[in-house]
Structure formats: C-alpha cells, structure tokens
C-alpha cells in the first residue's frame, strides 16, 4: 500500500540572481514499511525534496506537482493541518546534528515537546517515553543526561538524539536526511543497524537520503538516483547495483570502495554538476558523461522503462557494445 506519493514534484528558489531550479519533475512512491533511498551528489536536491514534504522549505521556494499523503496534497495543506502531521505522522531526521538541536534547551525538553504537542503527554509519563526513546537509540546513562544541553554531547550522540527526536511520536514515515554522514564509519554502521531494527519493530517507512551508495546496499528496497534535481534512474536496489543502466549510476557505483560488483579501480566522476540557474537544454549529466552523443547535448532524455527499473538516458549502459 502506498503511503506517500510524489508526482512531478518541482522546487525552485527565487534568488536575486535569478531562479534556481533545484528539483525538476521528480516522482516516487513509498509503501508502508518500505525503505526508499534517495541518492545523489551534494546539491542534487535531496534535502529540498524531504523538506518540501513537511512544508519546511525556505521562504523563497516555489513548488509544483503533488505530494500525496493519505489522499491529501501536502504541498497545499494549511499550516495547522500540516502541524498535526509533522512529527506525529511524518518526522524528519535532519542532516546536521550540530546545528539542528537548540543549544539553549535541555535534551529532555527538546525530546518531550512533540509528545506534549501531539499527545498532551507531560510529567512522569512523558519522561518515561523520552527515556525509552533514548534507550532505543543507545544513549548511555540516559537518566542522568536528561538535563544536559546539546554541546555536552559528542557528534555521534547528538545524531542519536536527533534520531530519538524523530521517533518520539512513532511516526509512520521518517525522512532521514543523511543520518550518518557526520559520523565515522563504525558509528555509521551502528546507526544504520539501529534504524533498521527500529523500523522492523514498528513497521515504519523510511526515505533514506544519502550520497553514499554503500549505505544504501543493505538497507533499502528501492533506490532513486538524483542528478541536478532530476531522477536519472530508479530501480529496486539489488537490480540497480547489479545492472546499472545510467552512466551516472555506474559512475557512482565505481566510486564506492566496498561493493563487490564494483571491482577494478575506484574512480570518481570528473567534472561539476551543471548550473541550475540556466540548465543546459540536453541531459544535465551530458557534460560529464563518457558516452554522450550529440543528441544528449540537445534533448532532455525522458524517464523510460519498466516501472520497476526506469532510467533517463539516450545511451544506457546495456545498449553499448
């Protein structure tokens, strides 16, 4: 059953220098209990997609398309209706745990305020739930750390606090924006395992945002590869890893050090993402693509293929000899 469905989602920002087209025509769906990965380089629009779902985009943003949740378009929802969904139905784990916690409030207060807001829970009952959430994300000595402030925690612990915060009201969907980027590799693995475990227990859906395909491998059913705000390829994760169709996806996979399939040399993709103010007419990846033809520079490739594996490319990998 589909929980969240984005159709032709586009996001642009009005800036003094012109309009930045950060996200273009992105469609995807997340089923109940499913984990979907959103992968792409820095600046490809991943965070903005997540923010748009909760109506948290900056003031200069304009959206078009629809994001449907329980039959309603979140993009056009009134503020107070949206507020009743935020944290309670859909919660977000923010990208940077160093700045997304309020430095002037105790951890307990920051954790219990969504309980108070959505469930009217206060006092001992609220504290019990806060401690449960802190235990769930393995924050040691939780009881004695309730009155601590964010600066008294390490980066890894803050990341756990941010995750606990998103879990407080047992939401149906979590938008996890790079929940592990701020951490070193061992802690990364712990946190991912933790998320997976919590998800299994509560049948929660997750939109996992990352630029690291290594993280995606074990954790997600479906993967969307984003480039310059467009979907380049989307497929079941296994399928995508085994038979990447888009040169960009293949490039990404080659840049992953610890994946069996990507044997051979570790390579990064040369070049920079395009200017999103005046995007080139053709495929946004063309300037960096090894296989590009004249058509690639001229025409934007549509997203085509079997619904289980789609790609936007004029010369997909499998058609090359």
């Amino acid at each position: 059953m589909t929980l969240l469905q984005a159709e032709n989602l586009s996001i642009e920002f009005q800036t003094p220098d012109g309009v930045v087209k950060a996200v273009n025509d992105v469609s995807f769906s997340i089923g109940a209990g499913e984990t979907v990965a959103l992968v792409g380089e820095s600046g490809s629009g991943k965070s903005q997609i997540a923010l748009s779902v909760l109506g948290l985009l900056a003031g200069n943003a304009r959206t078009s398309g629809t994001v449907t949740y329980q039959g309603k378009n979140l993009l056009e929802m009134q503020q107070n209706e949206l507020n009743s969904i935020r944290a309670k139905e859909i919660a977000m784990i923010f990208q940077d745990p160093m700045t997304s916690l309020n430095p002037y409030m105790t951890i307990e207060r920051q954790l219990n305020e969504s309980l108070e807001q959505h469930e009217g829970l206060k006092g001992a009952a609220a504290r019990k739930r806060v401690l449960e959430a802190m235990d769930a994300v393995r924050i040691p000595d939780a009881k004695n750390r309730l009155k601590a402030y964010p600066h008294e925690f390490s980066g890894g612990m803050r990341q756990r606090i941010v995750i606990a915060m998103a879990l407080m009201c047992s939401p149906k969907l979590i938008l996890a924006d790079e929940p592990t980027t701020a951490l070193d590799v061992t802690v990364q693995a712990q946190i991912m395992a933790l998320l997976k475990e919590i998800q299994r227990e509560s049948d929660m859906s997750v939109l996992l945002i990352t630029h690291d395909l290594g993280v995606v491998a074990g954790a997600c059913e479906k993967t969307l590869v984003l480039y310059a705000g467009r979907v380049m390829e989307q497929a079941g994760t296994l399928d995508l890893f085994e038979t990447p169709s888009h040169p960009y996806t293949r490039g990404l996979l080659r840049a992953v050090p610890n994946i069996q399939d990507a044997v051979g040399d570790l390579r990064s993709i040369a070049g920079q993402p395009p200017n999103q103010m005046v995007p080139p007419p053709g495929c946004p990846f063309a300037p960096r693509c090894e296989n590009r033809t004249e058509q690639c520079d001229r025409e934007l490739p549509p997203l085509v293929g079997d619904i289980r594996h789609q790609r936007a490319c004029w010369r997909p990998v499998e058609e090359l000899v």
């Binding site: 923010f94 940077d96 409030m105 807001q117 941010v162």
Partner: protein, 310 residues
C-alpha cells in the same frame, strides 16, 4: 554561580584601589584647588581651611587617610565646596533620583523596544516595521538634548500635562519626561537589534527542527527563539544600564532633577576633590555590579557560558 560572583567581586578590589589612587593624583595634578578663587584668601585663613580638610598633610598621608576612612567607616569625607555636607550626604541625595528615573527609563526602553523589534521582524515591511524604521531615524535626528526641549514644549507648555522640571520626591509625573528623554535613542537601537537578531535566529536550523515537530509559531517564538534573540540586546544594554542609572548630565541639568549628574558637574566646576573621587568610585562600583549582572544574565540564557563559569 555564587562562587563565581564572589570570585569576580574579590578580583575587583585591586582594580578599585588603583582607580582611587590614580584619580586621587590626577585630581591634584590639575592646577588650582578647591579653595583657589579670584580674590586670594588671607594666608592665615587659608592655612586654617587647609588644616581643617587635612590638605596640609603630605600627599601619601592624605591618600592613606582617605582609603582608611572608606574601608573602615564607609566615609568618603566632607565636601570641599558645600560646607556641612559630606560626600555620603550628596550621593544619598542625588543617587536615588537618577536611580529612579534611570530604572524607569530602562523599563521604557526594554518594554517597548523588544516587542517593537519582534513585531517588526515577524511582519517585515508591515506598518510596524516602518514605524520602527521611522522611529530609529527620528531618534537620530532628535538626540536627547533636542528631544528634551521638544517634550517640554509639547507636554508642559502646550498641553500642560506634565511638569517641566523638578523632582517632587519622585512623583510619577516628574519621572516621565526625564526617563523618555534619556531612553529614546536606546529604545530605537534596542528595537533595531532585536529585529535583526530575531530574523537571524528564525533562519537557524534548530528553528526548522522545532517547526518539524508541529509546534505552533507562537510556541516556537517564545520557547525556542526568544532567549537567543535577547543575547545581543543584553550585550548592548550592559554599558547603557550604567549610563542610565548614573544619570545623563544633560537630563539632570535640563530637568533640574537634583540627580547625581548635576552633582558631578557642580563638583567639577568647584574642584571638589572629595565629591569627584566619591562619584568616580560610585560609577566604577556600579559598572562592576551591572557587568556582573549582565554576565549572570548571559549565563542564565546560554548553557555554554554557564558551564564556563563553574
């Protein structure tokens, strides 16, 4: 926090001592003395007067006596120019006056400036935002020495609502105009600082986190944004507080409040060593106390500062 305050207070003692010594010598370095006048006094009388005030003693003895009296008797000595008055008497008469209207002026500045700044930030380019901008410009064009006469012109001479000067034991009608004249330019600054501070805070990632929890905007403003918004306001107000409760010389003189600023001017004209020294010490102590309070306020808001104080 108490330990910190005590430590800070102890640290101020050597500072105060050096201040007393420096002021003491500076004052005597200036040519003339409290008893020099156009028509010189006969030498015998002069000697008498000097003896009475201990000015015939060597300087280091004078200094020692002065410090001893302050430390052991809290006695700042007699006034040299106003017979029968001690420095303690003059401060006791003038300080409560400036403290009173200075306090109300600070209340006026904060109670109006902060909400004005908040509203201007929340409703950018609205009526209230323009009011604030207009007010800021107004206070630049009309500094207190222009504003005060205008206030008197309007409220005393034209409307007859408020007395144009005097103190009358601190009746409220005598406090309003000095407090407003003293505070207006600070009010504009406080509003401006609050506005830009709040705008910056509202763009912070942790405010977005609060929004993601589904909290209403008002809760976010009060619970999440207000404290950090006030930090720069507190920094700004720290020297202003001292200035306000020690009184503006201009406001004291213009409204004849009998406040301490007036006494300072009188003392400077008559080279009243003991009064000037006493007031200088009072100012320093007040500066110290208010700075300490401001630091404590900072610590109360910012846990990082608080853990630094331990």
């Amino acid at each position: 926090m108490l330990k910190y305050s005590l430590r800070r207070s102890l640290a101020v003692v050597p500072t105060l001592l050096s201040l007393i010594i420096i002021c003491f010598f500076l004052m005597r370095l200036a040519p003339g003395g409290p008893f020099t006048s156009e028509r010189p006094l006969p030498p015998a009388i002069m000697a008498n007067v000097l003896e009475r005030y201990g000015l015939d003693q060597p300087l280091h003895i004078q200094l020692w006596t002065y410090i001893k009296n302050i430390v052991f008797h809290f006695d700042f000595g007699p006034s040299f120019s106003q017979r029968d008055y001690t420095v303690n008497d003059l401060i006791a008469a003038g300080f409560p006056v400036t403290l009173t209207y200075g306090f109300w002026s600070a209340v006026f500045v904060l109670a109006l400036g902060i909400p004005l700044g908040v509203v201007a930030a929340l409703r950018q380019n609205s009526f209230w935002d323009y009011i604030m901008t207009g007010f800021a410009i107004f206070s630049q064009i009309f500094p207190n020495f222009v504003l005060a006469p205008l206030l008197v012109l309007l409220f005393t001479l034209a409307l007859g609502w408020l007395p144009g000067g005097g103190w009358n034991g601190g009746h409220w009608s005598y406090i309003i105009m000095p407090a407003v004249a003293l505070g207006t330019s600070y009010l504009a600054n406080v509003a401006r600082i609050t506005r830009s501070s709040l705008l910056e805070i509202l763009g912070a990632p942790y405010i977005r986190t609060a929004r993601a929890k589904g909290l209403p905007e008002r809760t976010i403003l009060i619970r999440h944004a207000l404290k950090p918004t006030l930090l720069p306001v507190i920094s700004y107000m720290s020297p202003v507080f001292v200035y306000m409760i020690t009184g503006s010389v201009f406001v004291d003189v213009f409204f004849s409040t009998g406040g301490i600023g007036q006494k300072f001017i009188d003392a400077a004209y008559t080279r009243d060593y003991s009064v000037i020294l006493g007031l200088a010490i009072l100012y320093s102590v007040l500066t110290f106390v208010l700075n300490l309070l401001v630091d404590l306020a900072y610590a109360a808001i910012d846990p990082k500062v608080r853990s630094g104080l331990k």
